[in-house]
């Protein structure tokens, strides 16, 4: 699927997410478990603040000199006998890979998990080739594929929204599995099925965690080991990578692998971290033909501008795992293959505000994402920046009309108007205030509260009661004046 995963409007997606209590419970449970694991892994390393600074520096440096690093990497891939293709768009990338598959006469493609291949909709493109089979080998991606290409809901845990019963049913209906819903049994079944497919694979497609500029190797990390089989068995390998995923050398790759593993899954290193390129003389396995497809697909929109920091991302998913909004609306709520805080920043950069303008507003700006990010992307600030671009530069309208919001700007910037507001508040709210049940103490202190407010406050009272404001003779400023004069006379 391309970046956009749903044609449903944002509010419909939110309602769909809320109607899925299993998903919500699964996300909350995953977030809580990861919170402990991630925190422990970082404390265990020590000096986390300084490690973050180093990781940020590596990523900022690479983004700053990106064309130079891409050139160095491409030269080194070619020196190893590999091929490099630069793709401006998703279609260019997918078509190029399709042509490789046709030229090689490939019929059995195996893939390891890669967000960028999802982004360029590669599976569908390859399946246009008659007789072609495409197999996702990451367990989660395999489950989604067998479930008629269901949407991933997390960039590290794509099947977070599915439970074991649903997975059992998919395996039963699609693959003839007749065992129970024990995850161990389901995984063993998948292992056996996938192993047979691996052995007949003639084209392997992988993503790339980091591309090592000075050696022409790519770095992939997995826990399952599927990427290594994709890189070992087929004669041809195609690597698809977002253009920003470079590091100067093995040393920086090693630092970022550590940051990634600890942030994504709370491990010191994932089970497999591999640095690989085209087969060298004397070796039996590994790719004889090695292609790297470097994809822009909207990333250059971020270069040199306010959103450049988004290119620092190493796709650890930690920001999803701490996000209180993601906790409730899940991946599907965002309608992008990149959900959560990073998705809300990245999706509009890649595809614009018409498609993803809702996402930057779907945040309470709590800053948990910015706090956890191992490469120090100021995510909540970039969300505000998106809002600024939409409101101040593009004059887009987001659920409130601009006149109202600008009115607030004038009122909160003009002392005389604010004084008027404080004066009329109590009276204006008077007719709306209810004497109805008050279950709280020290909250509704001025005679009633509001249950159904109009205009700006409607969203508030859709959810919560609003205390009636005090009379202007009883507000804080009036109190302070009185208090001061009492002090003087005391």
């Amino acid at each position: 699927m391309p970046i956009k995963t749903s044609d449903h409007p944002f509010l419909t997606r939110l309602a769909e997410s809320e109607a899925d209590p299993f998903m919500q419970a699964a996300v909350a449970k995953a977030q809580d478990a990861q919170w402990d694991k991630r925190t422990a892994a970082r404390q265990d390393l020590g000096n986390w603040a300084q490690w973050r600074e180093l990781a940020e520096q590596i990523r900022q440096h690479v983004v700053r000199y990106l064309p130079d690093y891409l050139e160095e990497f491409a030269d080194n891939v070619e020196a190893r006998g590999g091929h490099v293709f630069f793709a401006k768009t998703d279609d260019e990338a997918a078509n190029y890979i399709k042509q490789i598959a046709i030229d090689k006469g490939a019929q059995h493609v195996v893939k390891s998990k890669s967000m960028v291949t999802t982004e360029i909709d590669l599976d569908k493109k390859l399946l246009e080739i008659p007789g072609m089979s495409v197999l996702e080998s990451d367990l989660a991606e395999f489950i989604l594929e067998e479930d008629d290409f269901d949407e991933p809901t997390h960039i590290v845990f794509p099947t977070l929204h599915k439970n074991r019963d649903q997975i059992r049913t998919i395996f039963h209906d699609k693959l003839g599995y007749d065992g129970d819903n024990d995850p161990q049994h389901l995984a063993r079944f998948a292992r056996k099925y996938l192993r047979a497919s691996f052995l007949q694979a003639d084209l392997g497609v992988t993503g790339c965690n980091f591309a090592i500029a000075d050696s022409g190797l790519i770095n992939l990390v997995t826990n399952e080991g599927n990427a290594d089989l994709v890189m070992a068995i087929p004669k041809t390998q195609v690597v698809v990578m977002g253009m920003e995923r470079l590091v100067p050398s093995l040393k920086e790759a090693e630092v970022l692998d550590q940051m990634l593993s600890r942030s994504a899954v709370g491990q010191k290193l994932t089970s497999y971290a591999t640095f690989a390129g085209r087969q060298v003389d004397g070796e039996s396995d590994g790719p004889e033909d090695f292609y790297v497809v470097i994809v822009d697909n909207g990333r250059s929109n971020a270069l040199g501008g306010d959103f450049e920091a988004v290119l620092q991302c190493i796709r650890c998913g930690a920001c999803l795992n701490v996000c209180p909004v993601y906790r409730h609306i899940g991946g599907h709520g965002y309608g992008s293959i990149y959900p959560g805080p990073i998705g809300a920043v990245l999706s509009p950069v890649l595809r614009g505000y018409q498609e993803f303008g809702d996402l930057p507003f779907a945040s309470s700006l709590c800053g948990a994402c910015s706090e956890t990010c191992p490469v120090k992307i100021p995510l909540h600030k970039l969300l505000i920046k998106h809002r600024e671009v939409m409101e101040n530069q593009l004059h887009m309208d987001h659920s409130f009309n601009n006149v109202l919001m600008k009115g607030i700007g004038v009122a909160t910037g003009t002392p005389a108007m604010f004084r008027m507001a404080m004066g009329v508040d109590h009276t204006m709210f008077g007719p709306l205030s209810k004497k109805a049940p008050i279950s709280t103490e020290n909250f509704i202190n001025n005679g009633g509260f509001v249950k159904n407010a109009p205009s700006l406050a409607k969203g508030w009272t859709d959810v919560r009661d609003l205390p009636r404001p005090p009379k202007h003779t009883e507000n804080f400023r009036a109190w302070f004046k009185k208090h001061q004069s009492e002090n003087k006379h005391a």
Binding site: L54, G225, A232, T274, R278, E283
Partner: protein, 232 residues
């Protein structure tokens, strides 16, 4: 202009930064944490940490001596009830004093054979129920073995067999991945290492993709044993 040049130029234009500035601004890390973290551990400290870290990632961590190595390997194969063991083609057998053991091993092992070709070696590995390989280094911090692919010990050697044991010298226990990278970079630079692939392997294959329940043994080996040779 080539497609590559057009692409790179377009990035420079978008970024409003000229190309080819890196030469004058090479990467200089702002701190030396990768070098200094766990740098002051003694050999025994490293060993103790390696054991703890390995066990934390579900590795069967064993030790032996050079003299007792054959018995330790026999015990491993017996414990796994191996019927189709697989070995690499490697000069390490001589180094570890295992030439005779290798030549007399029963059941008769199969080998990853240089120049035997992709299909033959992959077929052998996929039918092996146990593999015994030689690792380059063991990283104490994370319980990670590192291994560079060679003609006699291919990539799939480490992934297709059902059970897997790596033999490592105690003197090759390093504190962290940074120290391993220095050694690989040096070996690339002086020409002593020609490889297409370096694996960092931290315990057996696993997945949490189904309800985040940990499953050990997905695509790679179902279990993993590290055998550290204490007097080497």
């Amino acid at each position: 202009m080539t497609e590559r040049e057009a692409f790179l130029d377009s990035l420079a234009t978008a970024a409003k930064r000229p190309r080819h500035q890196l030469q004058d601004h090479p990467f200089k890390p702002l701190n030396d944490l990768p070098d200094t973290t766990l740098a002051d551990l003694s050999a025994d400290d490293l060993f103790a940490l390696a054991e703890k870290s390995s066990e934390a990632v579900h590795v069967d961590f064993q030790t032996t001596t050079k003299a007792a190595l054959p018995q330790a390997l026999d015990a491993f194969l017996a414990a796994k009830a191996a019927k189709t063991p697989m070995l690499p083609t490697s000069t390490a057998f001589a180094d570890f004093g295992l030439t005779t053991w290798r030549d007399q091993l029963t059941p008769q092992p199969s080998f990853w054979v240089p120049n035997a070709g992709r299909e033959a070696n992959i077929d052998t590995a996929s039918h092996a129920d146990a593999a015994i390989g030689f690792a380059d280094y063991l990283l104490a911090e994370s319980g990670t073995i590192t291994v560079a692919t060679t003609p006699g010990q291919g990539r799939a050697f480490h992934f297709l067999p059902t059970h897997y044991l790596a033999v490592i010298k105690k003197s090759h226990i390093l504190s962290r991945s940074r120290q391993a990278m220095y050694r690989y970079e040096k070996a690339f630079a002086d020409g002593s290492l020609k490889t297409s692939n370096i694996n960092f392997i931290t315990g057996p294959s696993n997945s949490g993709d189904i309800e985040m329940v940990l499953i050990v043994g997905v695509h790679g080996p179902l279990d993993m044993t590290y055998l550290v040779v204490e007097d080497m």
